[in-house]
């Protein structure tokens, strides 16, 4: 469906005849029912009414005050009539560069609201309207578009998760070619052998934390308590990251097969894909692919007639960056207020419903089938030098060919930027890039040439690779303003549980906007650094620990830019 007029028509919501009781009956006995129930009411009514929340509270036996508080946590749940279908215009860092403000103004008759980065940085600007994502930089050009495929392989580079993603009909089971790795694993490998292969491949978490996947799986396999769960973290909320979307949209069976192999290795019987709200098309693709797999007896209660049981469910988030933090995600799945949990204990022993749980990123799980097929050594050798495997980099911003690139770990950043992606726009030079989306702060100056894409190098530059979002900022960009936008994102997404993050992200945003704080640069810098140091040392989760990397790197590379905003 396309917007043909300059002023788009509201999207038509399928009129639902379902009663409150119908919805509750449909979901009440399913695992993790709260989010789907909330979405069903939200979709039916166009918002979450007081009456709806009262029905859900009674139906799922959740205290009303708790339910109300939890609903207000998610920014995509609307509490006023018609709110669900009002356009949400992406104001992520890249989209702001492409004209979020103008597009929002053009849609002003439809009560548009801003939403944080919606993962379409390779094709800005996404506008979400109910179940529909449209993209375009002007109201007239807004149209529904499939996820862009990764750019062609730059030549001679071995890929892992992208090796077949560009194949025709890859998203269909027939085009995918059946679950050969799962079949091989069930027929000829013990769980222990599977764990050994994953262990020795060197595969590590590709969502950002980099925890060795084999060790995680083994901890779950060894942990007491049943049933065990495989959770795929598909809440790709990091600004500038859109790699999981392309994997799920174009290669959903790789993910499902990877999850089934994880289940086989750990003894898990149930799985969830926790998908961010901003990917409604992906939900349809995944739901369809799961149905195909169930039909082909590749999921279910007797997989390949070998007695293996693994049932997979998709759960859609509702707008909260923190739900990409694995323990917040688990609380969200369980219908609780999505604050991060205190650790230890870790999810491997106390995860979903306090039972052993693997939480893996989409990219990690998609790498599993090829590793089983080609072996641990093959995967290891994909990296450069001592680094094992590959990493998808979501590259966006001021570069000629933005998109998802699967790079060998250890690749020089300059090779990616200049040789693969065509370098900056003509007449421009690259001033800085962000790392780990926004969580790794900036890399700039001489470090741009010295940097290789691997954790040891990036850690030495006080940054990290994280989920692999790299946003390029050329010399036309105001680094103070870019920093303010970044910090205001973290402030918007801070959950409010721990003091350093809740207050610190707010105070840093005010200081980057020069709205509050000392008017003397040295005093300003002392406040910013004190807040940052305490946030990094004492925050309860990664959000508060990472946010000050923005101010740290601003001061490290662009101290003069900041200083120029002050009289003295």
């Amino acid at each position: 469906m396309e917007y043909t007029a300059a002023v788009p028509e509201p999207t038509k919501r399928a009129v639902s005849e379902l009663s409150d009781a119908d919805i509750l009956r449909r979901w009440r006995d399913e695992p993790a029912p709260l989010l789907p129930v909330l979405h069903a009411f939200h979709d039916r009514d166009g918002y979450l009414s007081e009456q709806a929340l009262r029905a859900i509270s009674a139906g799922l036996r959740i205290p009303l005050a708790d339910l109300f508080g939890t609903v207000t946590f998610y920014h995509h749940f609307s509490r006023s009539p018609g709110g669900r279908d009002q356009p949400r215009v992406c104001d992520g860092p890249i989209c702001q560069l492409h004209g979020t403000a103008q597009l929002t103004a053009a849609l002003s008759d439809h009560q548009p609201t801003a939403m944080p980065c919606a993962g379409r940085c390779d094709q800005p600007i996404p506008v979400l309207r109910g179940d529909q994502v449209l993209v375009g930089t002007t109201a007239a050009s807004l149209s529904a578009q499939p996820s862009p495929l990764p750019p062609p392989n730059p030549g001679g580079i071995d890929e892992c998760v992208f090796a077949h993603i560009r194949d025709q009909d890859r998203a269909q089971l027939e085009g995918y070619g059946g679950y050969t790795s799962l079949t091989q694993a069930i027929e000829s490998m013990s769980p222990e052998q599977l764990l050994e292969v994953i262990d020795s491949s060197g595969l590590a978490g590709r969502g950002g934390a980099g925890f060795p996947t084999g060790r995680k799986w083994r901890a779950v396999a060894d942990a007491p308590g049943m049933p065990k769960t495989i959770v795929c973290n598909a809440d790709e909320g990091e600004p500038g990251c859109f790699k999981d979307r392309v994997l799920m949209d174009h290669d959903p069976h790789a993910l499902i097969e990877g999850m089934a192999i994880a289940a086989l290795a750990t003894g898990a019987e149930r799985g969830f894909i926790y998908l961010r709200y901003e990917y409604p098309d992906t939900e349809k693709i995944l739901t369809r692919a799961i149905a195909e797999a169930v039909e082909a007896n590749l999921l279910g209660n007797n997989i390949l007639r070998r007695g293996m049981r693994f049932n997979l469910h998709v759960r859609r988030g509702a707008g909260a960056y923190i739900c990409g933090e694995e323990t917040s995600l688990l609380n969200s799945l369980e219908g609780k207020h999505p604050f991060p949990r205190n650790r230890p204990p870790y999810p491997v022993t106390h995860g979903y419903e306090n039972l052993p749980t693997v939480v893996n990123n989409v990219e990690t799980l998609c790498a599993v089938p090829p590793i089983i097929e080609y072996g641990a050594e093959w995967y290891q050798a994909l990296g450069k030098g001592k680094f094992a495997g590959t990493k998808i980099i979501s590259l966006s911003g001021d570069v000629q060919k933005p998109g998802n690139y699967e790079v060998p770990l250890g690749l020089p950043l300059a090779t990616l930027l200049n040789d693969w992606a065509g370098g900056p726009q003509p007449g421009r030079s690259i001033q800085a890039v962000t790392m780990a989306g926004l969580s790794g702060g900036f890399i700039a100056g001489d470090d741009l040439d010295r940097c290789t894409l691997d954790e040891p190098c990036l850690r030495s530059m006080h940054s990290f690779l994280g989920a692999g979002g790299v946003m390029v900022l050329d010399d036309s960009r105001d680094m103070m303003e870019v920093s303010r936008q970044a910090m205001s994102f973290f402030a918007h997404e801070s959950c409010g549980k721990c003091f350093p993050c809740r207050i610190g992200t707010q105070r840093l945003t005010e200081r980057l906007a020069l709205e509050a704080g000392p008017r003397d640069f040295q005093a300003w810098r002392a406040e910013v650094e004190d807040i940052g140091e305490t946030m990094k040392a004492t925050s309860a989760c990664g959000l508060g620990i990472a946010a000050p990397l923005i101010t740290d790197s601003l001061i490290r590379y662009f101290s003069d830019v900041a200083k120029n905003r002050f009289d003295k």
Binding site: P63, G496, S539
Partner: protein, 368 residues
Amino acid sequence: MNRTDDKTENKQPVGTINLDGAEVPFYYGETIYQVSQRYQSNIPTLCYDDRLEAFGGCRLCIVELEGARNPVASCTTVAVPGMVVRSKTKAVEKHRKVLTELVVSENPRGAKIDPLRGLASQELGELAARYQVKGDRFAGKQSGTTNTADDNPFILRDYDHCISCYRCVRVCAEQEGDFAISVMNRGFATQITTEFNQTLSESACTFCGQCVQTCPTGALGDRKAMRAESLPGPIETTRSICPYCGVGCSVDLMTKGDKLVGIRPAMDGPANEGALCVKGQYAFDFVQHPDRLDTPMVRNDAGQLVAASWDQALDRAAAGFARIRDKYGRHRVYAVASGRAPHESAYTIQKWIRTGFGSNYVDNCSRA
């Protein structure tokens, strides 16, 4: 607000940790914070209430743990044999000061919180004094919004002073089981709310007052006690037992001079551990009410109540019961003893019915 946990008294230690250079024993399941309480009690906190599950929100109780990259929250970190913990290094104290400066910066400057607001209401002020925080750093927006619409007679919701420690939300859920209040929005926009952000009277709140007593800033205030803010003199407390029902909750009666100004639950009360109900917490005005009877009353021939002696009153009551028994029979008298009365009174009542009337028509309201 800390109690010694007497549940550990009869247990054997499971190992020792090194706490600031001293080897100290700990019991199974104890956190570093709990261990430290026995030995130095000097680690600051704002979100901790030892009756509640440790939350780990304020981060003031951070300590350095050998082998850990970052300081850990001592309230959520379970002691393991051989741990080496440093609780008062320069770095840790610096972070605590910055955290205190941050939390002070989100509230109105220089506010004086009357201790009548609640038992824990001085905690933030004491912390600010300890770290010499004057409120001159980290200026910016204020986070809380006082709920002026909620005019219930018991609980002031002065959220300008709220620091989002969620002790109120957690005590309501974990101790009282009411789930009347919860957390709305996220981050700096977080507010304490009820269902649909209504007033407490419209919510599931039972006005037990536990949220008020655990609030570390006085953002929640005991409105009945606050009536006495302008009375001169110090607040004195007297330990007593709540007279309302048979549970026997320990309370501290707050007085200024000879005036009863408020009631507080005793955190170390064996029957209540800091809990009270709306009656025990707020229904004390009768004690010094001008309408309160201080002598027996009987009706005169004109039907008006007049003061009488105990003998006159008891004779009149006895005559009345005797007349009913003689006219209608002994089963027309039925006694229900009050749950507020002590054992001796309950015994006397049943004795009076059983031997006095020769009937078993006696009960006690605590059974209902």
